[in-house]
Subunit: 274 residues, 2 copies
C-alpha cells in the first residue's frame, strides 16, 4: 500500500516541478498536500532527482535553509542540445525559404511552441547562475523564444517596442543604429513600469545580422541602469563578422544562400556549448 501511495506522489510531484521550472517549492507544500512527514517528502524528492538525472531530463535540486525547498531546471545533455539545434537548422535550410531581398522565412519556427520551448531550455541553462530578473526582447518575432526562455528561468519577460504606446505609460525612448552597414536611425521605447534600476537582464532575440537592434537593447539597459548578463539569438548571420553588438551568442548560424533552390544554409553553432 505504501509504495502505491509513493507512486501517486512521485507522479504528482514530477508534474508540479516540471510545470514550474526554476521555482522553489517548500517541503512544507508537499507535506500539506499529501499529509506526510518531511522525511517522506525528502525520500520522494531523492527518487525523482535520481530518475531525472538517470534519464537526463532535468536537474532537481534541494536548497537547504529557511528559504529552502526543491526546484527543477530543464536540462538536455550536450548531445541532445546539438541534435535539437541540428533538427531546427535542417528545417531552416529547406528549399523555398529564401525570400525576395535575401530574407530567410523563419516565422513558423520562431513561433512554434514546441521548438521555442526547447530552444528556451537550451538558452536558460547557461544563465541559471546569473539569476536574471527578466528576459528582454524587441517586438515582435523574438517574443516566443524570449518568453520560453523566461519561463524556463522562472523570471519575467519584458518587451521593448518600436515606439511608445499610450497603454504602457511613461517610457524611456532611445535612438539606435539599425545595422552595421546602415546609417539608418531607429527608435526603441520601453515602459518605465516594466523594469527597475539595479536589476539584471538577459537579452534574447530571434535574429542578428548587423546586430543593431541587439546593441540598441544593450544601450537601453545601460540607460536604465540594468546589468546585461548575456545576449542570445536564435539565428545569427555569418556575415558581417563585425556586428554592432559584441558578445552575441547564437544557437544557429546562417552561413550562405543558394539561389538555385531558394534556400539558406543554416547550421547548429557547434561552439555554442564552449
Amino acid at each position: 500500500m505504501e509504495h502505491i501511495k509513493r507512486n501517486e506522489r512521485l507522479s504528482v510531484i514530477s508534474q508540479i516541478l516540471t510545470s514550474t521550472p526554476n521555482i522553489i517549492h517548500t517541503y512544507a507544500e508537499f507535506c500539506e498536500k499529501f499529509g506526510i512527514a518531511k522525511s517522506t517528502v525528502s525520500e520522494d524528492i531523492d527518487f525523482i532527482t535520481e530518475a531525472f538525472q538517470k534519464y537526463r531530463i532535468g536537474v532537481v535540486e534541494t536548497l537547504p535553509g529557511a528559504a529552502g525547498g526543491v526546484r527543477y531546471r530543464p536540462y538536455m545533455s550536450k548531445e541532445q542540445m546539438l541534435s535539437t539545434l541540428t533538427d531546427v537548422a535542417h528545417k531552416l535550410s529547406e528549399s523555398g525559404r529564401l525570400l525576395t531581398g535575401r530574407f530567410l522565412y523563419s516565422s513558423d519556427i520562431a513561433s512554434s511552441p514546441e521548438i521555442t520551448s526547447r530552444l528556451g531550455h537550451i538558452i536558460a541553462y547557461k544563465y541559471y547562475d546569473n539569476c536574471p530578473d527578466f528576459v528582454l526582447t524587441m517586438e515582435t518575432k523574438g517574443i516566443p523564444i524570449a518568453l520560453m526562455t523566461a519561463k524556463a528561468l522562472g523570471c519575467q519577460l519584458v518587451v521593448a517596442r518600436r515606439d511608445t504606446k499610450a497603454y504602457e505609460g511613461s517610457a524611456v525612448k532611445i535612438n539606435y543604429m539599425s545595422g552595421a552597414d546602415s546609417e539608418r536611425i531607429e527608435t526603441m521605447a520601453l515602459s518605465k513600469r516594466a523594469i527597475q534600476s539595479g536589476q539584471k537582464a538577459l537579452i534574447v532575440d530571434d535574429f542578428a545580422k548587423g546586430g543593431g537592434t541587439l546593441q540598441g537593447m544593450v544601450e537601453m539597459m545601460r540607460e536604465c541602469q540594468v546589468e546585461v548578463v548575456g545576449v542570445e539569438v536564435m539565428i545569427s548571420t555569418l556575415l558581417p563578422e563585425n556586428k554592432l553588438c559584441k558578445d552575441i551568442s547564437s544557437l544557429l548560424i546562417m552561413k550562405s544562400i543558394n539561389r538555385l533552390n531558394n534556400s539558406c544554409e543554416v547550421a547548429a553553432n557547434e561552439h555554442y556549448f564552449d
Copy 2:
C-alpha cells in the same frame, strides 16, 4: 526492486507527458526507453492517470488503435480556474494601473510566463475537442497568452501583423474598422506561408474594447478560408456592450475605472465556464 524501477519510470513519464501537452506518445516509445513490456507501460500509465485525476492536475488519456498512445492535457477544476482568474483580476485592479487616456497597464501580466501559462491552460481546455490547427493573434501584446494557449493545445502559433514584412514573404492584407465607436480604418497582414485554407483557427488576444481587431482577425480567416472555432481574450471591457466582434469569450471583465486611486475594477468572468 521492481517498485523502485516503477518509481523511476513514473517520475520520468510524468515529466515527459507534462512537458508536451496534448502530444500523443506511443506505448512503444516508453517500452523502448525503459526496456519493458507494453503491459508494464500500461500499468504505469494507469497509476499516473489516477494520480493526476485525484490531485486534479491534468487529464491523461489513452487512445486505442494504430495512431494510439497516451497524451496529457493540463486541467484545473472550476474552483482552481476561478481562483486563478480572481488572483489575476486583483493584480489588475491595483491602484496606479490606470494610465492617462483611460488605459489599463497590463503589460506585466500579459507577458508573465507563469500567468500566461495558467491562462493558456484555461483557454485551451475549452478547445481540445475542436482540434484547432493554430492559434491566431495580432501583434504584440497578445503573443504570450496566445503562445501558451498553443503550447497547451500542442498546435502552432500564427501572428498577424499591422503591415506586411519583407521577411515574411507574400501576404494577405485586409482593412478593418479599429473599434465600435471609431471610423478609423486599420490594416492587418498575414504571411501566406503561415496558414492553409481548410484549417481551423482559435483566435486569442489580450484585450477587447471595441472588438475591431478581433473582428479583423475573423475577417482575415474568412478571406483565407479558415474556420474560426473560437474568439478568446484575457480582458474585455464591459462597455461598449455591442462589440464589433460577436461571440467574444473573455476570462476577465474590466468593469469601471476609479480616478481617485487611478485603478480599474477588473473581475473574473464568472460566466466563462458556462
